[in-house]
């Protein structure tokens, strides 16, 4: 308790960070593990002291933003772990250690259980005639990255990571209450800082990819997914089955830490999730009779196949369908930067369709500028406005063309934040809203608002570059000021007129239908 009090009362973040970072460098991995154990130990003790239920609502608790008035700062998980538990780390009885080990084993078993449950939906389609939206997928575990406020889940995560020898990424800055269940990372402190490189556990290609994700060099669910698959191909190429192991098992096991590493760098996109699911299925589907080379070849092939048909061909098909909907003298409004939409427009223009484009953009990402450059280079007439000015341009717009991050089973569209807003205003000016989305981005999740499962980007991005940024620059010192840099939002189905997919044009309410069909055909 006392120590906790000290912690919550601790001064501004940096002062707390530095020691932890310092250790991150000097401590060897073993020591770290050691310390982690300590921490868990104490946590357990603490939990025993006071009942589980009370915990999350306790003010100033390390994790778990309590409702109502927020404490000044959230102590990032590992740092406080380290900060808290050095001194006791020295003396320690064998018994305690043993006890821990036992506890650990139990936990592992428990985890295995959950893993099984989790993997069922992936397996589910294998069973013929069974629609995927049956019980199993309902009991599907809530992903860790949306329950940061639940210490139990966090501990589970931490445990899992450390078993996989993946460092846990510290949260950054104070979070908005409403989003206290999400991670908030800082771009300036990537995961790799706390890793010994070359890492034994993680394939260098994956590390690179992870960095690219966390630094925001790779954006857009398509790009991210493609990159991921490329990396996996390389991983498989370099993989060799250790003796007395079965490829189909071991490879999956090997991939797991990679995935959770990437997940730490930046929560997986739906597209990536689906791709991974597919890959796992492929691997586990391998017949044990195959020789290693054949197996690897087979996997390589299936990955290529996936990329080809699910992404490239799909895009082609979509741009074909969309072309029917784009006519001369149209004024088309696009938002942000969607590779699919860009491609569609360029194709349409190449096919001699004379239309104008209005590119809408929003801080802090300003991806629209990218779109703008591409389209202009192709020779398309463009207009560029900020999202706040849409109600000025909309009267002249004839169609709104939007990309999507994922299509959820209840028909709502998950996409770059701002998309829903544009759909809303377009409705007010009764301009039809079209969404382009490949079917491989469809997922069984359902979601009704933009809060439950979302992603927080680096809050520092909101600070205005140049002289304008003066006000916000030292927001961390200001206890009652929060910066919210949301990544996605959810557009309710009634705001979307139609979805263009590689299977043709469908109303977005019939997403579950598509999912069912897909699963059956697989």
């Amino acid at each position: 308790m006392a120590e906790r009090g000290g912690r919550s009362g601790a001064g501004p973040l940096p002062s707390r960070e530095t020691p932890s970072d310092g250790q991150a460098q000097e401590l060897s991995k073993e020591e770290k593990l050691q310390l982690r154990k300590e921490k868990k130990q104490q946590k357990k003790k603490r939990r025993d002291e006071k009942g589980q239920p009370a915990e999350p609502s306790l003010p100033g608790h390390p994790q778990g933003q309590p409702p109502g008035a927020a404490p000044p700062m959230l102590a990032p998980v590992p740092s406080e772990g380290l900060a808290g538990s050095e001194k006791p780390a020295v003396g320690k009885s064998k018994a305690e250690l043993r006890a821990e080990r036992r506890a650990k084993q139990e936990a592992d078993r428990a985890l295995k259980q959950t893993k099984k449950v989790e993997s069922t939906p992936a397996a589910a389609p294998a069973k013929p005639r069974l629609p995927p939206s049956e019980p199993q997928s309902m009991v599907k575990r809530v992903p860790d990255h949306v329950q940061v406020d639940d210490p139990a889940a966090q501990r589970r995560l931490a445990k899992k990571l450390e078993r996989q020898q993946v460092p846990l990424r510290p949260d950054y800055g104070a979070k908005v209450n409403l989003f206290s269940h999400l991670h908030q990372y800082s771009r300036k402190r990537p995961l790799t800082q706390q890793m010994s490189i070359p890492s034994t556990a993680i394939h260098p290609a994956v590390v690179r990819l992870g960095l690219q994700y966390s630094q925001g060099l790779l954006n857009g669910s398509n790009a991210r997914c493609l990159a991921l698959l490329q990396v996996f191909r390389q991983v498989i190429r370099d993989y060799s089955t250790p003796p007395s192991e079965e490829l189909s098992r071991d490879l999956v096991a090997k991939l797991k830490p990679y995935i959770s590493f990437l997940n730490q760098c930046r929560p997986l996109s739906a597209s990536m999730g689906n791709a991974i699911k597919y890959l796992k299925k492929e691997i586990s589907g391998l017949s044990s009779t195959l020789r290693e080379e054949e197996a690897k070849g087979k996997l390589q092939g299936s990955i290529e196949g996936y990329v080809r048909e699910k992404i490239h061909l799909a895009a082609e098909a979509i741009s074909k369908y969309a072309f029917e909907k784009i006519s001369d003298r149209d004024v088309i409004l696009v938002y942000g930067c969607s590779s699919l939409v860009n491609r569609t427009l360029c194709d349409a223009y190449a096919n001699g369709c004379a239309f104008r484009v209005i590119v809408v953009d929003s801080r802090p990402r300003l991806e629209g500028r990218d779109t703008l450059r591409r389209l202009v280079r192709k020779g398309i007439r463009c207009t560029y406005v900020m999202i706040s000015a849409i109600s000025y341009v909309l009267p002249e717009v004839s169609k709104v063309l939007l990309g999507a991050h994922a299509l959820l089973a209840n028909g709502s569209v998950m996409s770059r934040v701002g998309t829903s807003q544009i759909a809303l205003v377009s409705k007010a000016y009764n301009v039809p809203v079209l969404v382009c989305c490949e079917t491989y981005k469809f997922c069984e999740r359902v979601q009704t608002d933009s809060f439950v499962s979302n992603e927080l980007d680096d809050p520092d991005d909101l600070i205005m570059p140049g002289k304008g940024g003066a006000q916000l620059r030292n927001w961390k010192e200001n206890s009652s000021l929060r910066l919210l840099n949301l990544v996605y939002d959810v557009t309710p189905p009634e705001l979307v007129d139609l979805v263009i997919t590689d299977l043709g044009m469908i109303p977005c309410t019939s997403v579950p239908v598509v999912l069912r069909v897909k699963n059956v055909e697989q």
Binding site: V385, S388, V393, V425, M464, N485
Partner: protein, 351 residues
């Protein structure tokens, strides 16, 4: 009077400077200042100007007023103040003529039926008119001083504890309003930053200084977050005769989002922002600044091939607004027309 000429030249220089400032986009000139300066100048004009009777005075005011108004159409308060002054002149003149108040109200069916003579003339000179008018104007100035506080006073009637309030950009009135409420109650404010100028940042910082829990977010997130908001409280540039707003761009989106989640939208605006114009000449209300704000010049060659727009204001139709809070209390948009007719004389609607 002695020294009149140089007084006048000095005055005309002041007017010149004011007009010039307005033309240059009125560097961060708040509406309240604009109003006060306008009234101040007009008072000077009345004080030093050469005029015999109410008639020529009104002509004079109209002339100068017009120049100030056209200098920056988006700054409607200037025009409003000119109209107020004209109204004052009419009233004072009427009083001197010994006409009772209500007989000089804007034309109505009633008047159409009853009143005898056609439009009155302002030709009869009354020596005390100058003094009276100036006095009345001074009162107007005093009224202007107090507006913000009067609005802030009502804060507690509208904000209960623990609610989540959204606002956009920066507005002195709203700032005062929220701070007032914060003295008694705890609540959470979400500020849309309002790109490209991001006045929202300033707002957020100022609020958080008062220990109000504040969150800044980009404009794109307005709709995403709206579902958790209990009230939207915004300021505005202008209230139009039909109860619509000309407010900082992004407000329309905000209002639509509020409507979609049927969240009440409250507008804090002092009376001097009421403008008897109708949204037909929208274009003149819209104000466009340099594309630089949106897309930097360094973007290079593509600039010549594209169009970049950076409107400063939005038009928000009245049906999206729940309530107006002005320095004289709360009103529904449907009642704005009445306030208008009390503030301005119909003949002055176009200067």
């Amino acid at each position: 009077m002695p020294g009149a000429p140089e007084k006048e030249s000095g005055l005309s220089e002041q007017i010149e400077a004011f007009v010039a400032r307005l033309k240059r986009g009125g560097e961060r000139l708040s509406s309240e200042e604009a109003a006060r300066q306008t009234v101040g100048l007009l008072r000077k004009i009345i004080g030093h100007g050469r005029w015999g009777n109410a008639g020529d005075l009104m002509v004079l005011i109209r002339k100068e007023g017009k120049r100030m108004t056209v200098a920056q159409p988006s700054e409607t308060t200037v025009g409003n103040m000119v109209r107020r002054v004209l109204k004052i002149i009419r009233e004072e003149y009427g009083r001197l003529r010994g006409r009772s108040e209500e007989s000089d109200q804007q034309e109505s069916l009633h008047k159409l039926l009853t009143s005898g003579g056609l439009s009155e003339d302002f030709s009869t000179p009354y020596p005390p008119l100058r003094a009276n008018v100036i006095e009345a104007i001074s009162e107007l100035l005093i009224e202007l001083e107090g507006t913000t506080d009067n609005i802030a006073m009502q804060a507690l009637e509208h904000i209960h504890s623990n609610e989540v309030i959204m606002t956009i950009g920066y507005s002195r009135t709203v700032e005062a309003f929220l701070k007032e409420a914060a003295r008694k109650r705890k609540f959470h404010v979400i500020v849309a930053e309002c790109a490209p100028f991001c006045q929202g940042h300033e707002m957020a910082v100022r609020l958080s200084k008062e220990e109000i829990e504040t969150t800044v977010m980009s404009d794109a997130a307005i709709f995403a977050v709206m579902s958790r908001v209990n009230k939207v409280i915004i300021g505005t540039k202008t209230i139009l005769a039909n109860g619509a707003l000309i407010a900082v761009s992004g407000t329309h989106t905000l209002a639509l989002a509020a409507k979609h989640h049927s969240t009440p939208l409250i507008v804090c605006a002092p009376m001097f922002k009421l403008s008897p114009q109708f949204p037909n000449e929208e274009d003149s209300f819209y104000k466009f600044v340099s594309p630089q704000e949106v897309l930097p010049f360094t973007e290079g060659e593509i600039l010549s091939k594209i169009n970049v727009h950076c409107p400063v204001f939005d038009y928000v139709p009245p049906e999206l607004i729940t309530l107006f809070i002005s320095n004289i209390g709360g009103n529904a948009p449907s009642y704005i027309y009445r306030l208008m007719s009390e503030l301005y004389h119909p003949d002055d609607h176009e200067l």
